[in-house]
C-alpha cells in the first residue's frame, strides 16, 4: 500500500494543510456477538489533541484501538465501517495492519518499555522499520527522540541502563520517545497518566502540548480535569441500554466543558454520574 508522506519532527509545516488526520465513518466494533461501539462518526483534526472521555465500559479504549487496528490482537474482535487515514480506509483488505501501526503509534496505560537498554528501546523500532543510517545517525535519532519526549536531560548519561530502571513517569516518557522515534503521523494514548503520580502526570501533559505542534494526538482519559487542561477537542462517549458505547457529543473542549449540548454530558463532567 502507499500511504501519504509522513512529517518528521523537523518539518511540521507538512501537516498544516487544515485537513483531517483520521476519520471514523459508521464505525461498529464487536467482540464476538457483543457490540462494544455503535455507529460512531468522528473526525480528528490534525495537530490537535482530541480527548475521548466517558464512563467505564463505554468503549473508549476499543474506539482508540480501532484507529491503528490494535483491536485485531483480540481474536474475537470484528470491525464494521471505515476508518479513513489520508483518505484511505485502513480496514480495506489490501492494507497491512503492520503498515498502519507504523504510522499511527500508541502509548499504553501502563508504561511498558522493553526490558532492554534505554538506547535499544528507541533504536529497535527504527531498526525494524528499515532504518538505514550509520551508528552516528542512530545516536542522533535516539537523542532527538529523547529530547522530543523531554527525557534526554535525565537519561543522557545512562543510555545503556535498562529501560525498566527508570521511574514510572520516566518510563512513560521513554515509551513516548520510542513512539516518536519512528516518526508516526498520529499518537494514540490510552490513559497514559493513570499509573502516574500528579507531578509525572503534569510532565506528560506538558509534553503532550509540546508534541501537538507536530503530531495529532488522541487521548483516552478518565480524568476530566486532564481532558479539560490538555485537549483541544473532546469526544464524550456513553452507553445505550444494551451496553453498546456510542458517541454522545463531540466538540471543542471549551464548549463541551462549559456549555454542553446534552444533559448527559453535563451530568457526567460535573460528576453526577460515571
Amino acid at each position: 500500500m502507499s500511504i501519504a508522506p509522513v512529517q518528521t519532527i523537523l518539518n511540521p509545516e507538512l501537516q498544516s494543510n487544515g485537513t483531517l488526520a483520521i476519520e471514523a465513518r459508521d464505525l461498529n466494533l464487536f467482540y464476538g456477538n457483543f457490540r462494544a461501539v455503535k455507529d460512531v462518526n468522528l473526525s480528528i483534526e490534525r495537530q490537535k489533541i482530541t480527548a475521548i472521555i466517558g464512563p467505564s465500559g463505554c468503549g473508549k479504549s476499543t474506539m482508540l484501538r480501532s484507529f491503528n487496528r490494535m483491536n485485531e490482537l483480540v481474536p474475537s474482535a470484528r470491525t464494521e465501517g471505515e476508518v479513513l487515514f489520508h483518505g484511505q480506509n485502513i480496514y480495506a483488505p489490501q492494507v497491512d495492519p503492520v503498515a498502519v501501526r507504523r504510522y499511527i503509534g500508541m502509548v499504553f496505560q501502563k508504561p511498558n518499555p522493553f526490558p532492554k537498554s534505554i538506547y535499544e528501546n528507541i533504536a529497535w523500532g527504527a531498526k525494524i522499520n528499515g532504518f538505514k543510517g550509520s551508528k552516528a545517525g542512530m545516536d542522533n535519532l535516539v537523542e532527538e527522540s529523547l529530547r522530543g519526549a523531554a527525557l534526554w536531560d535525565e537519561v543522557h548519561d545512562k543510555l545503556q541502563d535498562s529501560g525498566l530502571s527508570l521511574s514510572g513517569g520516566q518510563q512513560q516518557r521513554l515509551c513516548i520517545a520510542r513512539t516518536i522515534a519512528i516518526k508516526p503521523d498520529i499518537i494514540l494514548m490510552d490513559e497514559p497518566c493513570s499509573a502516574l503520580d500528579p507531578i509525572a502526570t503534569l510532565k506528560i501533559e506538558d509534553l503532550m502540548r509540546e508534541l501537538s505542534k507536530f503530531y495529532t494526538i488522541i487521548i483516552v482519559t478518565h480524568n476530566m480535569q486532564q481532558a479539560a487542561r490538555v485537549s483541544d477537542y473532546t469526544a464524550f462517549f456513553t452507553m445505550d441500554p444494551d451496553r453498546a458505547g456510542y458517541l454522545m457529543e463531540f466538540g471543542e473542549t471549551d464548549t463541551i466543558f462549559t456549555n454542553p449540548r446534552e444533559k448527559v454530558t453535563e451530568d457526567y463532567i460535573t460528576g453526577r454520574f460515571g
Partner: protein, 432 residues
C-alpha cells in the same frame, strides 16, 4: 464472643475502646488466638512435608553410599605377591615381563589362542595387565559387606572369613573409583566399569536434546502465538496434555515399532553406508535418542507454552504498536523473555530422559557391550540399563558396582543440570 460495637459508640469513652492486648480474658480477644493456632498447625504440616522429603533423600544417599564401600573377601588362583619382580607389582611391570608371566603360567594352547586373537607384541601394557588378572591371578570375589557392617562388625567379618575361606584375603574396597569411570564393561566385577554406558548415555541425550528442544519450542510457539482458538487446535492441545502423562514404556513400544523396525533402514545407518550396519537392526543410539525425545516432547511443549504465556501481553502490544510484524515481535521480545522458562522446563525434561530405563529396555539396548559407541548408528548401552542389569545379577559384588554406578549417574545428571542452568542464566534476559 464480644458483640461488635459501632465505632461511633466508642468515641470519647475509654472503657469501651477496643481491647488490643491480651488481658487473660480470652473472650475479649475474639477468635484471633484460634486463627493463629490454626495457622501454626498448618505451618507444622508443611514443615513435616519438607522433613519427610529430606529424610527420603538422606535414606537414598545413605543406601547408595552403604553399597559402594565396604569389606570384600577375595580368593586368588595365584597370589599377586608371588608375581612381584624385584619389588615391582604386577600393575607396573613392563610388557615383556607380563608376557613372560603369561607364558609361564598358562597352558601352551591357551597362550597360543590368546596370541592368535591379538599378537602379544601388539597389546598395550594395560591390556596385558588385565590379561594377567583374568587368566593368571584370577581373583574371585567370595563375599562383600556393606559399609555399615564393615565399620561396626569388623572383627566378626574377619573371624568369618578366616573360618569359612582360609585362603581368602580381606580388603576394604571402594567401588566408586576412577577405574569405574574409565573401564569398559566386564564380567569380572573387579575390572568392570561404566565407561561404555556413560558414553552411550551422553550420545543418546545429545540426540534427544537436538530433536526435542527445537521441535518442542517450535510447537509451543505455534500453539501459543499463531494458532487460533479452533476446535482442531483445542483437540491438539488436549492430546499433548494427555501424552505428557503416558507411561514411558509405551513410548518404548512406539520407538520399537517406528524407529527400530519401520525406519530401520535409516536408524541402522544402512542408508548412509555406515560400515557394519545391518539394515534390519535399528537398535542404535539414534533410535534411542529419538524415542526419548518423543517421550519428553509433550512436557517440553507444555513447559515452553507456560513460559511464553508468562510474557506480559503489554510487551507484545508495545512491539505491535511500533509497527513490528508478528515474527519480529516473537523473535525480539517474546522469545528472549521466555527463554529462561523454556530452558528450565527443558532441563527438567532432559534430566528425566537421562535416567529413563524402561523405553530403552523395550527398544533393545544391549546389556553387555564392551566397545565404545563410534557414531549415532552404534549399538549402545546406557547408564540406567547398566545399573538395572547389575542389580538383577545374583552376585552381591555386582550390587556394590550398581551402587557405585548410581553415584556416577547422579554426578553426571547434576553436572548436566548445572551446565544447563549456567548457560540459561548467562544467555537469557530477565524482566528487570
Amino acid at each position: 464472643m464480644r458483640e461488635p460495637t459501632p465505632l461511633s459508640d466508642n468515641r470519647g469513652d475509654a472503657s469501651k475502646a477496643p481491647q488490643l492486648a491480651a488481658d487473660g480474658d480470652g473472650a475479649s480477644q475474639g477468635n484471633i488466638p484460634r486463627r493463629n493456632r490454626l495457622g501454626k498447625i498448618w505451618r507444622s504440616v508443611f514443615l513435616a512435608s519438607t522433613v519427610i522429603g529430606i529424610i527420603a533423600l538422606t535414606l537414598l544417599m545413605f543406601n547408595i553410599t552403604n553399597g559402594s564401600l565396604g569389606y570384600m573377601a577375595v580368593e586368588y588362583e595365584i597370589e599377586p605377591e608371588s608375581l612381584v619382580v624385584d619389588g615391582v607389582p604386577v600393575e607396573n611391570l613392563p610388557s615383556e615381563a607380563l608376557v613372560k608371566i603369561l607364558e609361564d603360567n598358562l597352558t601352551r594352547n591357551r597362550f597360543r589362542t590368546l596370541d592368535r586373537q591379538t599378537p602379544m607384541q601388539e597389546r598395550t601394557q594395560a591390556e596385558l595387565v588385565s590379561l594377567v588378572y583374568d587368566n593368571v591371578i584370577e581373583p574371585k570375589v567370595l563375599m562383600t559387606w556393606p559399609l555399615i557392617d564393615s565399620l561396626l562388625r569388623e572383627d566378626e567379618i574377619r573371624q568369618e572369613v578366616s573360618r569359612e575361606y582360609p585362603k581368602a584375603e580381606l580388603f576394604f574396597k571402594v567401588w566408586f573409583t576412577q577405574d569405574l569411570w574409565t573401564s569398559p564393561q566386564s564380567s569380572n566385577p573387579l575390572l568392570a566399569g561404566v565407561r561404555t554406558a556413560i558414553l552411550g548415555s551422553l550420545w543418546i541425550i545429545f540426540i534427544t536434546i537436538l530433536f526435542a528442544l527445537p521441535v518442542g519450542t517450535g510447537a509451543a510457539i505455534y500453539l501459543e502465538e499463531y494458532a487460533h482458538d479452533t476446535w482442531i487446535n483445542r483437540t491438539i492441545q488436549t492430546n499433548i496434555n494427555n501424552l505428557a502423562g503416558v507411561p514411558s514404556i509405551i513410548y518404548g513400544m512406539l520407538g520399537l515399532a517406528v524407529f527400530v523396525r519401520a525406519m530401520s533402514v535409516i536408524t541402522s545407518g544402512a542408508l548412509f553406508n555406515i560400515p557394519d550396519a545391518t539394515p534390519d537392526n535399528g537398535r542404535t543410539i539414534l533410535s534411542a535418542g529419538l524415542t526419548l525425545a518423543l517421550l519428553i516432547l509433550p512436557v517440553v511443549i507444555i513447559n515452553a507454552q507456560e513460559a511464553l504465556r508468562a510474557v506480559p501481553n503489554s510487551l507484545r502490544e508495545a512491539s505491535y504498536g511500533l509497527g513490528a510484524t508478528k515474527w519480529q515481535t516473537i523473535w525480539a521480545h517474546v522469545l528472549p523473555n521466555s527463554l529462561a522458562g523454556i530452558m528450565t522446563g527443558a532441563i527438567l525434561s532432559i534430566s528425566r530422559a537421562f535416567g529413563e530405563t524402561a523405553p530403552l529396555v523395550v527398544i533393545g539396548a544391549s546389556t553387555y557391550i564392551t566397545f565404545d559407541p563410534q557414531n549415532i548408528f552404534s549399538k549402545f548401552t546406557a547408564l540406567p540399563i547398566q545399573i538395572y542389569q547389575w542389580t538383577a545379577r545374583p552376585q552381591a559384588e555386582f550390587h556394590n558396582l550398581a551402587a557405585a554406578a548410581i553415584l556416577v549417574l547422579l554426578i553426571l545428571q547434576l553436572s548436566i543440570n548445572a551446565i544447563a542452568i549456567i548457560l540459561r542464566n548467562r544467555y537469557s534476559r530477565r524482566l528487570v
